[in-house]
Amino acid sequence: MAVKEGQGGFFTSRLSDGIAWARKWSLFPYPFVTACCGMEYMAVSAAHYDLDRFGAAWPRFSPRQADMLMVVGTISQKMAPILKTVYEQMCEPKWVVAFGVCTCTGGFYDNYATVQGIDRVIPVDVYIPGCPPRPETVLDALMKLQDKIQSEYHPLTGSVRKSA
């Protein structure tokens, strides 16, 4: 059910901001790590480029408990159904981050074995290019995702988000 912004009153928009604030500062990533970008993901979540200061450090390795699916690394054709199943198992609200250029467009693996971008399989919110992206890029992308979450409108009933 789609609700247009501005239709709620003062309290619902404050509530919406509050819910969005809470959601963006307590993301539970599900790192769907397959390849080399996983090393940069490990570097991002470690001490030097701390992901914990964004509240997003603790990976939840069960899709039922996570709300941010970070697809890290190339998705091959063999892996695509599993990615779709994991995405379907997650509950709303959920966001998908395509980490690395292999997940954005397939990278330089333009051959029989790879999916040319995970948006051919699941809808994506933030694309992070780079092979692998520098950890600062990942933090920047996380901040952009937080802006996106903040701008979503959550009235008391229903939600503006539509699943794909």
Partner: protein, 179 residues
């Protein structure tokens, strides 16, 4: 083609003494001693290299395949076995070429070298060469629904066989390149 220098190599000399015309060619390009053996003597040659006290190759380093279509050579497929001997600290490359190009079949050496299990599955998966006597000859890197053998020269590099229907991405988004 036999390389005169090659026969000075002890292992090649042993092999040619034992197999005679079972050995099709030998060479030592860049120092790698190589022998090509007829497919019906292949298993016997591997067993010989393993058990012979002078050769004593006890370690299988690798087993791979090559598709010789674009080199315009017959037979088309080639199975290459790399062996290492810990006693003499030397390596050897043994090659064989399955006779039938349409349905290449060769013996499996899993019982001689257990290390050959997965490499043979990979050669089957990528080239379609079947190994008789292999305990579990199924695809290993590709998925079961995949049709064809990807590393063959006539398989186009971009030919995808998706396992699930790909989403339609609207191509009116700015800066979007639709593949």
């Amino acid at each position: 083609m036999t390389d005169a220098n090659a026969h000075a190599h002890p292992v090649i000399a042993c092999l040619s003494a034992r197999f005679g015309d079972g050995l099709i060619e030998t060479h030592r390009h860049r120092g790698d001693a190589t022998a090509v053996v007829r497919p019906d003597r292949y298993r016997e040659a591997i067993a010989f290299l393993r058990e012979d006290t002078d050769c004593a190759f006890d370690f299988l380093t690798d087993l791979c395949g090559v598709d010789r279509l674009e080199l315009k050579l017959k037979p088309r497929f080639e199975v290459i076995v790399y062996l290492y001997s810990s006693r003499t600290n030397s390596r050897f490359r043994l090659k064989t070429r399955p006779l039938n190009d349409a349905d290449p079949v060769i013996d499996s050496i899993v019982d001689l070298f257990p290390a050959a299990n997965w490499p043979e599955r990979e050669v089957y998966d990528m080239f379609g060469v079947r190994f008789t006597g292999h305990p579990n000859l199924t695809r290993i890197l590709m998925y079961e629904e995949f049709v064809g053998y990807p590393l063959r020269k006539d398989y186009p590099v971009n030919k995808r066989q998706p396992r699930l229907p790909m989403r339609e991405i609207p191509d009116d988004r700015p800066g979007m390149i639709f593949l």
